[in-house]
């Protein structure tokens, strides 16, 4: 009975993660339909494998790892036709640049889309979901040092891209350079 209740509680927790999973999946692929598919696939796999979960406290990282693998599988399936790391990701869900805020959103998403897949994954997990580095290491199955270096390089590139966008099109993102000169 206790086990059944625990499983039921875990299933509910997995289902409650849908919005979080979707946001991260969307940040990875910038494709609403694909993000939805990835979330659906990850949740189904998580629910069917729930009994294999060793540590309930690690549920969130475990589910995100499943989604990471779903995304990798999708990338492998695309390899024959397109390289996921080099493809140009469409910002189809980006709002038009009508307001300052939506312009910032647009610019940040476009900059994110230009990062490599590895970098984009790390940034999304840390900045959107608040995962600790150790958890990201577990989710992506890479050493923690790799997480740190990827994140550092990703943010350096993000900042560079945003500054370039700001210089080219809009003054909005000059704010990313906190200078007083």
């Amino acid at each position: 009975m206790a086990t059944w209740l625990a499983q039921r509680r875990l299933r509910q927790q997995v289902c409650d993660m849908r919005a979080q999973l979707y946001r991260t999946a969307f940040a990875w692929c910038h494709d609403a339909a694909l993000a939805d598919d990835l979330v659906q696939e990850a949740i189904i796999k998580a629910l069917t494998r729930l009994k294999t979960l060793q540590d309930e406290a690690a549920l969130k990282a475990w589910v995100f790892r499943i989604m990471t693998n779903c995304y990798r599988d999708w990338g492998r399936r695309q390899k024959d036709t397109v390289d996921v790391d080099t493809m140009e990701l469409a910002c189809e869900d980006c709002p038009e640049a009508q307001t300052e805020r939506s312009r910032v959103v647009h610019d940040v998403r476009c900059a994110m889309a230009q990062l490599s897949d590895d970098h984009r994954q790390v940034v999304a997990l840390v900045d959107l979901e608040g995962f600790a580095y150790a958890e990201v290491s577990e989710v992506l199955e890479v050493p923690i040092g790799t997480v740190m270096s990827r994140l550092s390089r990703a943010r350096t590139q993000l900042r560079k891209l945003l500054l370039e966008q700001a210089a080219a099109t809009s003054p909005t993102l000059r704010l990313v350079r906190n200078r007083h000169d």
Partner: protein, 249 residues
Amino acid sequence: MTDRRPSEEILNAFVDGEFSPEDRLLTLKSIAGDEQLSHEVCDLYQLKELVGMAYRHDVVPPSLRGPVRAEGGRSGWWKGIAAGVVAVALVAVAALEMSTEQRVGWQDIADTTPTDAGPLMTPDGVKDARQVLLHVTDVDAAEAKILLDDIEFMFETAWLHGQELQVQMVVHGTAMDLVRADLSPFPNRIRDLVHTYSGLTVTACGQSRARHERAEGRTIEFLPWVKEVESGVREAAQKQGEGWTYIRV
């Protein structure tokens, strides 16, 4: 510029709250002594904020929105913070004994009990552990309410024990909404707390405000009872250097 400039990885880890209290203190000292470094750290905070804003909850389709983010970001941190804040108050106002190392972080503080405590001393040897700095960088409205409740509880507990207590909030990053005149979810609550407890100071980062103003193209005002400091990071570093108990929220 200091001779031992932290690496980019270290600065990122600092911004992401990855350090132990001791390492955090060391990095804060480096930042406090270097204006350029301070700006770089502010840039990283802002970049983190921008990414979060670009994919925040409102971009998720309504059909997927549910009772999510119950943990509010970093897994389970809030319960620890809340427990830490309360524990700081209890430990501080009761003048329990505690070592300097134990005072550095909330986790250690939360674990400290009257029976295992050591002398209550600052690094300078001055007996005064009733100074708490709350570095508020990332809270939503629900978490902010808990934080304000905890602050009130700390002061009430201090008052019951006839003790002096100083608490300073340093707000910046994504938590700025909390102290903005146009967006704060609890303006009256903050006003009441500041007016009721003379030991409470609410400060906000001027650099963060300038960035938000540039982003939004308009002037941003803080609540009248909020004091502006030039740099939130530097203020936090300075206070920690003076021996204040530092808690990142």
